[in-house]
């Protein structure tokens, strides 16, 4: 069933990078371009699952989360988004652009001192995007852009681990650790790096080029595991289980 769907499935494109790297701007531009190319596009944003987001927001407001709780709730959000937004869309042949997918959770939790091996387990089975764009910026650029927009929130600024009262000063320290983790993940998982310090249109042009050069490949073993589990158990796949294709 999964193999039969392989040729018709949609593509998953992830945009990763620290705050202020330009992921959201580039995601919006890229989405418009994809639609102009005839793709039916669905956007999935980080920590946006309808079930988990309210839980996280309430607890984040109270500054009540330990790094492990934060990580496990983010892992639950990832799984829920994957099962209710991303996989149903891919199954229907839509293209999904994920404004931060999995690696932002991993980079932030690693920067909080959690063990990467355990983090990968918590997020397993991993689901591999067809393309991961990593927007690389220096910690100075990220901090300057963040400070120009608004003061980062408690957990975004890493105040739970830096213990620095000023959100900008805390962010400056935390983003350095975060970028280091992104760079390691980028090497391990072979992200496509986009220089986030370049002019916006230059970055966009480069992304189009990289996307067009990208050859479609079959889902790997991890993805197959995730899809098989989704089909067997997820309430969001109930219709597929009943033999009907979702929405069509």
């Amino acid at each position: 069933m999964v193999r039969a769907r392989e040729k018709k499935r949609g593509l998953l494109i992830a945009f990763e990078g620290p705050t202020g790297a330009g992921t959201s701007t580039q995601r919006r531009l890229f989405k418009v371009w994809l639609e102009q190319q005839g793709h039916e596009v669905v956007t999935s944003k980080w920590i946006s699952s309808r079930a988990i987001r309210p839980l996280m927001k309430a607890r984040a407001r109270l500054h009540a989360l330990s790094p492990e709780e934060l990580c496990l709730l983010q892992a639950a959000d990832f799984r829920h988004r994957l099962e209710t937004q991303i996989l149903p869309a891919l199954w229907q042949g839509k293209t999904v652009v994920a404004d931060r997918f999995l690696f932002t959770s991993l980079a932030r939790a690693s920067a909080r001192g959690l063990d990467l091996d355990w983090l990968l387990f918590a997020h397993a089975p991993l689901f591999w995007p067809d393309l991961v764009f990593y927007f690389s910026v220096s910690s100075t650029t990220s901090t300057t852009r963040v400070a120009a927009a608004h003061a980062p929130k408690f957990y975004d600024a890493g105040q739970d681990v830096t213990n620095i009262a000023d959100p900008i000063a805390s962010y400056r320290r935390f983003v350095g650790r975060m970028i280091k983790e992104y760079e390691s993940l980028s090497l391990i998982f072979q992200f496509v790096t986009v220089d986030g310090e370049q002019p916006i249109y230059e970055q966009h042009r480069r992304m189009r080029q990289l996307f067009e050069e990208k050859r479609r490949q079959p889902w790997g073993q991890w993805n197959l595991e995730a899809v098989v589990e989704w089909l067997a158990w997820s309430p969001a796949a109930a219709e597929v289980r009943r033999g009907a294709s979702i929405g069509r």
Binding site: A51, A58, A76, T84, S234
Partner: protein, 201 residues
């Protein structure tokens, strides 16, 4: 599992598939300590409020899979360890965790999740000094179980609404089979009156 500090505190896990029975068994066990003025208490499911906050009355829209439900249990357990279990152990108290890790692992296995993933996920939880499973009745009491009665009731309600391949009674049977296997391996014996009365204070 994570190592324990070398204090005199005692962590007792009580596992089972029915929330009410778990609560009653934990209370009965705790009474054994309470009458002797032993400091400590019981740590129950959903101390963090994660599950109650999910607004179970709207569960048809939640669409939570077994894996997401296990991740949420793990997040709740981290909260319980942080605010209830570890502080009690650090103060040399007796803490009864009902349920603890095995109930969630049993649910995960019954829900088709791989055992090694479950074991590794809960590696943060310290090994209990003792683990018991409660005696399960063949059938539930006449009063219909509500989703917030316990973790398994919650998960069964969610999965039933999502047309899961396994219904609530089969889910419970699979879980009971896992816990029985643990009992056979002497990892989690049954909590009997005799066991309760023999608890050291």
């Amino acid at each position: 599992m994570a190592r324990r500090s070398a204090g005199k505190g005692r962590l007792i896990a009580v596992e089972g598939t029915r929330g009410h029975e778990l609560r009653d068994a934990a209370a009965e066990l705790w009474q054994r300590y309470e009458v002797r003025d032993v400091p400590g208490g019981v740590s129950s499911w959903d101390a963090s409020g994660i599950f109650s906050d999910l607004r179970v009355e709207k569960r048809k829209h939640l669409s939570l899979s077994p894996r997401t439900l296990v991740l949420l249990y793990a997040a709740d357990l981290v909260f319980r360890l942080r605010w209830q279990i570890r502080p009690a152990l650090d103060q040399d108290q007796v803490i009864i965790a009902a349920p603890y890790v095995d109930t969630a692992v049993a649910f995960g296995v019954a829900g088709g999740l791989p055992g090694p993933w479950l074991t590794k996920l809960f590696a943060f939880a310290p090994t209990p000094d003792a683990c018991y499973r409660i005696k399960e009745r063949e059938k539930a009491s006449r009063t219909k179980a509500k989703p917030l009665d316990g973790y398994v009731e919650f998960c069964a309600a969610i999965l039933a609404d999502g047309a899961a391949p396994v219904g609530p009674s089969e889910l419970r049977q699979r879980m009971a089979a896992y816990l029985e296997e643990e009992e056979r391996k002497n990892r989690c014996p049954r909590l009997t009156k005799r066991v309760i009365s023999s608890q050291p204070a």
